[in-house]
Symmetry: C2
Subunit: 652 residues, 2 copies
């Protein structure tokens, strides 16, 4: 691949992006798409009046970019919660560090690479991309100090930036905890694994236990009930109520009634379950159901305390001589609770955790096997054998090209779309008690999956390593990686261009909801904003994506610096797009309070250390003992820095 091909590819991708963004700026102005592009506004009850049909509605405008750019962090915090701010901080951090990397790599490393060997240089546009990678530097060259210096600058500035980011996020988290409005969850402790006794019900046991040990601060408690008849009747009634609302309201876009059904759904969820049994009885007016609820008591309860401090202490302290009984933890916020998981016996949790961990690892490693198998099935001759009636069509050269060129990658992408739901499923089975905990756990799994299946599998399959035994020697791993990464750099560049930028366009277009909406409006002829689900920000798919690009940037930075401008552009676009999405589309019903940052921090440290190990291998291949010698203390310092941050910030 030469420079002109790369630039052409970049041009095509930029063109596609511009077209899609313009299309978006038109589509968002159409009243029929309000439910797709302004979900958050609908939910919060603030939608603009419909514009009349006018010319302006069909002209693309950059107003949404300005709006997204101008919004301050306080507004984002108020609208999207702390998780949104943390997510945007990842992008800001990436922009900052890769700007520094761009300066040093383009002005120092790139010329060194380019003039690394005495050779006849062609015109720059027709130059091979390999000329710009570290592979072009002579063995034993004294100019490798430039790469070493660049590595030092990047790692040190990344560490400094990481430290300050972590510090400010910790501060934000503390003020989030201390200064947020009083919330029932602050005074509530979730008790699980209440011991079963023959004589009394769980409820009495809880009451006895807490009046005994927390006499001064215990207020009351509420058992958790297995979702039995009552729960099902309730949710059915609720669904019917919602349908009734949707049908009954004036179809000319008056969504003011929506929030009732909406908030109603969420809050009543909590109210019903945390209010006294009497209120449930009162609502149901069915005497015989009381018996049903009593039978279905779980070994879990919410215990309410008089002070926040008492609740904190009760959540922290070991309650019983058997650590698997009377397990306490602070209750998540009402919207955040995963009710279905509360009834899982605590004893099962560790087995579930191990099982899902193993399942996720197995899934990660064998994922590519069925994909390759199915890709093999779609070979032309296979297809024409299985479906003889297609033979005629398949022999046309255009169809032929389309199938062989696109079908395998379509299959791969289709399979990749199944990954986040699968990981989410694993995380549900794991048994977390909060939605944010589930999302965090899924985020970690998707992250590992992405890094393994995009970064390592590409590197391993794209180089000679596959032929060798990978485990042949631990000491050779840096060298193997060092051989593989520069050769794969051009692939990663096109990956950033296509997958990165395209995913942003898809994100802003909201293709799937848009299609659903069109289907409803034009095919089913359903009118109005039939808002059929709240979208919360999919951190578990977006954070791994951004972190993967960070990893690509770090590892390629000193090897193939040409990738950095494309990455910077990606991060900048992502910053605008996600700000817009947070402002308009997604609703933050629950949040983890910034608990995604430690994942980001650890992944960045991992990327840095991986970069250093690869650099070590490269310096080894290029026979530069000085540069190798300088890289080893850098690895040690990075690991020490990580340990320091863990000590300093992690406990919060």
């Amino acid at each position: 691949m030469d420079i002109s091909a790369l630039l052409t590819s970049a041009g095509i991708n930029i063109g596609i992006c511009v077209v899609l963004f313009s299309l978006y700026s038109i589509l968002r102005k159409q009243p029929s798409n309000v439910s797709v592009y302004f979900g958050r506004r609908i939910a919060s009850g603030r939608t603009r009046r419909n514009d009349p049909y006018c010319f302006e509605r069909f002209v693309p405008s950059p107003s949404w970019i300005l709006k997204a750019w101008e919004t301050s962090e306080e507004e984002i915090l108020a609208i999207g919660g702390m998780d949104a701010v943390v997510f945007l901080r990842i992008l800001v951090f990436s922009i900052r560090i890769f700007s520094i990397a761009a300066v040093i790599c383009i002005f120092l490393v790139l010329p060194v690479n380019y003039y690394g060997q005495e050779m006849h240089h062609k015109e720059i546009p027709s130059e091979e991309l390999e000329v710009f990678t570290i592979g072009n530097v002579k063995e034993g060259s004294t100019w490798l100090w430039a790469h070493c210096l660049a590595l030092y600058v990047i790692c040190c500035s990344a560490s400094v930036l990481l430290y300050f980011e972590y510090k400010s996020i910790t501060k934000m988290r503390l003020s989030h905890i201390t200064r947020s409005a009083p919330n029932p969850s602050h005074f509530t402790v979730l008790v699980r694994s209440i011991p079963w006794s023959q004589e009394e019900s769980y409820s009495e046991t809880v009451k006895k236990f807490f009046t005994n040990y927390y006499a001064s601060s215990y207020m009351s408690h509420q058992m958790v009930y297995r979702s039995g008849t009552v729960q099902k009747l309730m949710s059915d009634a609720e669904k019917m109520y919602k349908m009734f609302k949707t049908v009954a309201v004036d179809p000319t876009c008056n969504p003011k009634l929506m929030p009732c059904g909406f908030c109603g759904e969420s809050t009543s969820d909590f109210k019903i379950l945390s209010s006294e049994v009497d209120s449930v009885k009162g609502k149901m007016n069915l005497g015989d159901l009381e018996l049903a609820t009593e039978k279905k008591e779980c070994a879990a309860a919410f215990v309410f305390f008089k002070t926040r401090y008492a609740a904190d202490v009760a959540a922290d302290v070991l309650q019983s001589s058997n650590p698997m009984l009377w397990v306490t933890e602070l209750a998540p916020e009402p919207y955040d609770i995963l009710w279905s998981n509360l009834c899982i016996p605590y004893r099962q949790l560790w087995i579930r955790k191990i099982a899902t961990l193993i399942a996720a690892i197995v899934f990660m490693f064998v994922f590519l096997i069925p994909v390759t198998f199915i890709q093999g099935l779609t070979q032309l001759d296979q297809l024409s054998q299985t479906f003889p009636f297609l033979k005629g069509i398949l022999q046309k050269p255009f169809v032929n090209q389309l199938l062989t060129g696109y079908l395998p990658s379509v299959i791969l992408i289709a399979f990749l779309y199944t990954v986040p739901p699968t990981m989410m499923l694993f995380s549900v089975v794991e048994g977390p008690i909060s939605r944010s905990g589930r999302k965090k756990s899924a985020c970690i799994k998707v992250l590992y999956f992405t890094i393994w299946n995009v970064f390592f599998v590409n590197i391993l399959s794209g180089s000679v390593i596959r032929q060798l035994n990978v485990f042949s020697s631990v000491r050779d791993v840096p060298k193997q990686l060092a051989k593989a990464v520069p050769t794969q750099a051009s692939f990663f560049m096109t990956y950033v261009l296509s997958s990165g930028w395209a995913s942003l366009s898809c994100e802003v277009m909201q293709l799937f909801p848009l299609l659903c909406n069109m289907f409803k409006t034009f095919v089913l002829r359903m009118k109005g904003d039939s808002y059929d689900g709240t979208l919360s920000f999919p951190y578990h798919t977006e954070i791994p994506k951004v972190l993967l690009f960070g990893l690509l940037g770090f590892t390629c930075s000193i090897m193939a610096p040409l990738i950095i401008p494309f990455l910077l552009m990606y991060f900048f676009l992502a910053y605008l797009v996600y700000r817009n999405q947070i402002l308009n589309v997604y609703i933050s019903k629950y949040e983890s309070g910034g608990q995604f940052w430690p994942i980001v921090h650890n992944t960045t440290i991992f990327s840095l250390v991986l970069t250093q190990i690869i650099a070590l291998g490269v310096f080894g291949i290029k026979q530069s003992p000085v540069a190798t010698g300088f890289t080893i203390p850098l690895i040690i310092c990075t690991l020490l820095f990580n340990e320091f941050c863990r000590q300093r910030f992690y406990p919060i």
Copy 2:
């Protein structure tokens, strides 16, 4: 090596043991050795009147064995504390599990091994040891189910026994915590890393902080002072006082005054530092020293609370938004505190921990290099070159044999004796605040060292693996181990006979204190019980030793069952000897409250899994897919069991 040689070796070792034990039973009756063999009694003030010179004193008697056997666990608990009970439980557990292993291995596995190949059997005494190992079983033999069954029985019974031991020790630990006499340490929290402020002293900062946040339960506090002039003067005075006592007391063995000096030393240690500043002033009567003490305030303090619960909560809860400030933990017991480490800045601790960890690992791996080097230096020709005047002596065949036969192993043993002090030194540098914590940390380090340098190095050096690349393939490790272990079984047998039994004899004889005592009595002509140091039980050397023999037992059990009887004998002797030592010699001034058991538990699980992996390799070599298939679930179950125990017991 054949059976008769093994039996001869066993006979010699038994003879040596009998002689040494008899010698011990005589020596302990001599009044001059009272300080060596009855240290604990002297310290607790209960020593027997001296017997007159009579015949009985010079006749060996088994009375100490009876005494050691008859003592109940409650007495041991009262005398030696919980750690002693935990230590004896290790021995009891080993005796139990290896009795089971002995039954199944000798009646089932041994005949299978012996008749494993169709061969002409010699007379049993002249049979090679290899005939009794698994190496004698034919490839593809159907009789390997016997080994697999034995493995299942051993692992299952070990798990069951471990579970009940852990359960009873946890119970003991809980009653140790709840039912022990009220102790100042129960109400005290050690606060470290107090932030420095310009305006006020540490003491005022602490007072302000705790009156602010713990108004209802805070009682008072006591700063920790760097051991400056005052401390040194005090300790000098104390030393002089002790010397004075030793010289002044009636030399005809009246040790009743000893305990004063003794307890005095320890308790005043605490009183001085934890009493008010005034009392220090009062004692010193030196006005200008007050200034000196104030200057040397450390950023650490003991804070006293009114209730035990408040202290527990304060120790558990995060105190400040910066987790590296106001670090609280429950104070160790007064005797247990390592005063010198209290002043280490908390920020250094994590660096110290990493540094000592790395140092210990490096020490573990490079330990054998200087030893081999020095062993090489003591070759005969080297010696005669360096010291030409020795040439004449060295050429005598007797000296020659002695040097070549014994010098290398003497050097090895001498170097091995430096290991526990070195590890202890590492543990001190690590910065624990209690003596028991230091001992626990040293115990773990010595354990890793022992297992690596005795078990793995012997296996690796004694087999073909050294020639191969050890890391050639992870999948081959079981096979390599499987090849090596049976061939090394005879070495391990002699190791148990010589090192194991001999170490017990040395332990009971207390060679080093005995020699010191003799030197003092007969050379320096110092009379009386010049008791110059309290010996606390060296858990950090003895626990690794016992666990190593356990590891040898498990790994060799189904490979070479002949080792088990010798091991059983070792454990039985150890049980008697250590009971005796705990009753008579060692003083438990401080204890960790059973915190050694998790180490024991984890090591046993490690041994079991290692055994299973080796068995996997053996079954693979013997081409028995059924046995291999049955072993894999066993490994998984063992790991799951370990995880369960960690969940169930570890938090206590």
